[in-house]
Symmetry: C3
Subunit: 378 residues, 3 copies
Amino acid sequence: MAISLRRSPPRGHSELRSATNIEDAVMSYVRNMWYAAAWSDEVPPGVLFHRTYLEEPVLIYRRGDGVAAAISNRCPHRFAPLHMGKLIGDNVECPYHGLVFNSQGACVGNPHGSGVTPKAATARPYPLVERHNVLWIWMGDPAIANPELIVDFGFMTDTENWSTIYGYIHLKANYELVIDNLTDLSHAPFVHEGLLESRDVCKGKFKLSRDGDHAKTVNWCPGIAPPPFFEMLKGTQEFKDESGLVDHWQDMTYDPPGCMNTLYGITRRGRPREEGMATLNPNLVTPETSKSTHYFWAGSRNFSLNDSVVNEQFRRGYDYAFQFQDRPILEGVQANMGDASLNDLEPVLLINDGCSVHARRVMERRRKEEALERTHGK
Amino acid sequence: MAISLRRSPPRGHSELRSATNIEDAVMSYVRNMWYAAAWSDEVPPGVLFHRTYLEEPVLIYRRGDGVAAAISNRCPHRFAPLHMGKLIGDNVECPYHGLVFNSQGACVGNPHGSGVTPKAATARPYPLVERHNVLWIWMGDPAIANPELIVDFGFMTDTENWSTIYGYIHLKANYELVIDNLTDLSHAPFVHEGLLESRDVCKGKFKLSRDGDHAKTVNWCPGIAPPPFFEMLKGTQEFKDESGLVDHWQDMTYDPPGCMNTLYGITRRGRPREEGMATLNPNLVTPETSKSTHYFWAGSRNFSLNDSVVNEQFRRGYDYAFQFQDRPILEGVQANMGDASLNDLEPVLLINDGCSVHARRVMERRRKEEALERTHGK
Amino acid sequence: MAISLRRSPPRGHSELRSATNIEDAVMSYVRNMWYAAAWSDEVPPGVLFHRTYLEEPVLIYRRGDGVAAAISNRCPHRFAPLHMGKLIGDNVECPYHGLVFNSQGACVGNPHGSGVTPKAATARPYPLVERHNVLWIWMGDPAIANPELIVDFGFMTDTENWSTIYGYIHLKANYELVIDNLTDLSHAPFVHEGLLESRDVCKGKFKLSRDGDHAKTVNWCPGIAPPPFFEMLKGTQEFKDESGLVDHWQDMTYDPPGCMNTLYGITRRGRPREEGMATLNPNLVTPETSKSTHYFWAGSRNFSLNDSVVNEQFRRGYDYAFQFQDRPILEGVQANMGDASLNDLEPVLLINDGCSVHARRVMERRRKEEALERTHGK
Ligand code: FES
Ligand code: FES
Ligand code: FES
């Protein structure tokens, strides 16, 4: 893993503008966390992949041994985008004047003059860990980048028990609006009406529990008509009682910064969940800028394993839901908010907002902690 | 009418940023006035119409009894655009989590939990009055929204004496630039050369008179060739003297915020206006943002009544004039001004600027008055 | 020449926002210099040409005697773009209300009222000089606009000894980034790999010399394979020694604000330059806004004179190099920098940066001098 970096990183874009006092910290990003950067297969061997996280341009590529590494996509000489350059073995050549950087961002080649490589010429390296089909990036202090903090989505690569489909979309909305969306599943019967859920779930037994920064919501809906999505994917005949009803759950876990896992399933009335159809749906949210977000979604199911027709239905259903149902609402909310913050606009609270409020508080506390550390030293 | 609202409205977008002192007030909007919001037929029954006024997103729709109402298009829960939701009877269901609002903006339905509707969950209502084919909106304090203040454009619906065509265009220019344009008709022979007016009108007898905030300009042009537009619409043979000349008037009334009525006509030399061809042309200007404007135009004529061919010629002529002659000039002026105000750039004054200067002074005084009220209470 | 203007110009856009202290001056433009405004043939007789320089909209046109003049493209009345008006003899009629301006920007006609032309109604005139196929504009104090300060590119019109092709492109990058590019030719073997240069030039004998604000870099590359561009244009057989090698030079002169002349050539090993193939390549860089630049390029050669096939190859080669090789890098650098300045981002210095650093220092000194003059009077 490319996480053995100890030196203090050079200043990045967002740090230049970042908070020098606690008040300003509200608008900054939490840096010392693992963010989803890309699906593993978005970065095939030989490709200089680039994406912006927390307003910083990042280059990601694989070394010859297959290990993926992330360094600044901004050459320290005159700031050319390195992804426009060349991958030469394990190194990258800048497209502008040809400085060569290794996968730790160190300058290892200078074609000009005596060929001495300036010591300061470092493309800031970012700790990057590949796990469960996701490349996770650490945008903060490399010295405390602990891979054990990565949320466990092991089922995504447990092909024996789960079949998983996944995708990526780009949203023109602040990342916390996307987290609001996913931590409050009561939107599903409205935004995804007739597709994912029926309104029966509004009357489920809803419960929020917290464990430190981690939170979980449970919405237990015994004896309702099966949600349309399960009907569509496989049929639910085997789980219905004589009235055509099933037990349904619509749960969700939250971990900061933006790791939501939604758990949908049905089972025969009164029977344990294990006997039913279940889906686990990681939703990973990473800020690009203050008004745009990378959104990685996946769906793992414990039924119709390796059935490529169901794969396609699942993928099409989710893609439709996110692209054509969530996206216009989220981008509409962002447009409606303009430059105002959520609190500026004094939102009304509903019963299902608990987890969204929790997530915002966790992130706000972390922003303040990081601002304090920057101000007072560590 | 939906104007019986007494409670103090929740804070809107532009109020958040609005003036806290007199200096800043120059950039804010006048709120306690009736603005043209839409033509009546832009809001047919069953439709959730939305438009932004003074930087605030507004939803307009008709109740079952046909009465149109306006409420904020921003749900007070998580700020989703209500126009993406559903019209259910007289109420609107939010597309995001399903709160239901009535035409006064009160929350009357909550599908979640116990179903209690939070008292604070109000979509800000705006007084709205339908009159003479126009929906007029009041963006300020509902308590003082007096429909008697609406400028009388009764001729627009007096089909016995007038035939009226009308349209809407969106302009990428500040609304005061559009008011400048319409309160100074000396632009017509240049911008609308060969279409509306000839240069003969430059030498007319020009007079500006004021009555409080109301102003009127008269440009009396006796014994000139008839303007091309009258020629085109109907022919002017019957009004010409032996030299082919007519008496022409090109007048205009201004009422704040942006209600201009231009009065064009010709008559036989020395004969009263009543015997001639006359057009009354309401031009209603409403700010969308500081750099974009809703522009409602109409043309009423006292000749060729109910003649659908003349209707079409009239409409096409005006649409061409506004879209292809005024628009590029106005958007060019806005681009040339950038973020500077008119006064920053020290404009030279010409003889015909009197009414534009009057209109800007009226609006500036009103902005300051409203800023004072906000600061010192009412 | 239209440079006999003595009166103090009215305030322009960028002056409104311009520095009132030395710190802010860093972001302003140097005004008292000659900037390339257009190629001569971009302004044919009868045309109202317009372009924005240093954030000020400018109109350029030819009088009946063929002399080109530049005045503000913003009418002093209500700021309409004059290029949308009419050229009438030597004068321009404003498209909005018909004021007429002469080529010095003085108002010489008013169609309204008594016809008096308001004295203050001046479209700011800019000194403009046509020389060597370029229209040069002076954006500062007309009283000190000395045409002798224009950099001599006489070879561009010396058709007896040189054949010249030229072009214009618009870049979405700050002008100093474009100057950086051209004052540091070490980018050529990377950005223009396989087209202009090979990497052999990285090991040339590089030398920077300064003479006041003027600077020159020499990169002498004896005994290398001829650069691909010369091969492509004409073939280099006659200059090669038995090993296929030639002597090559890749030099550059800089004069402020953004006048670079690159000098490329080859000759037979050990023989004087005069016997070889030489190209002189003016590159003139003029700011449009802080993030966009006008870039005028030319190529003069001393071989295959008047050969239209070589003309086309030369033009196509350069157009490709600038449009498809330099442009994406420069716009990528600008995007990578956002609103940060070069110094904010602490660039690493390489051996070839000397002339770029020189150019930035010259411009910074001039900005500060001009800011001081504005603050303390002259
Ligand atoms: S910008 Fe990368 S080497 Fe110059
Ligand atoms: S945003 Fe309208 S109900 Fe939640
Ligand atoms: S804007 Fe030019 S004459 Fe009015």
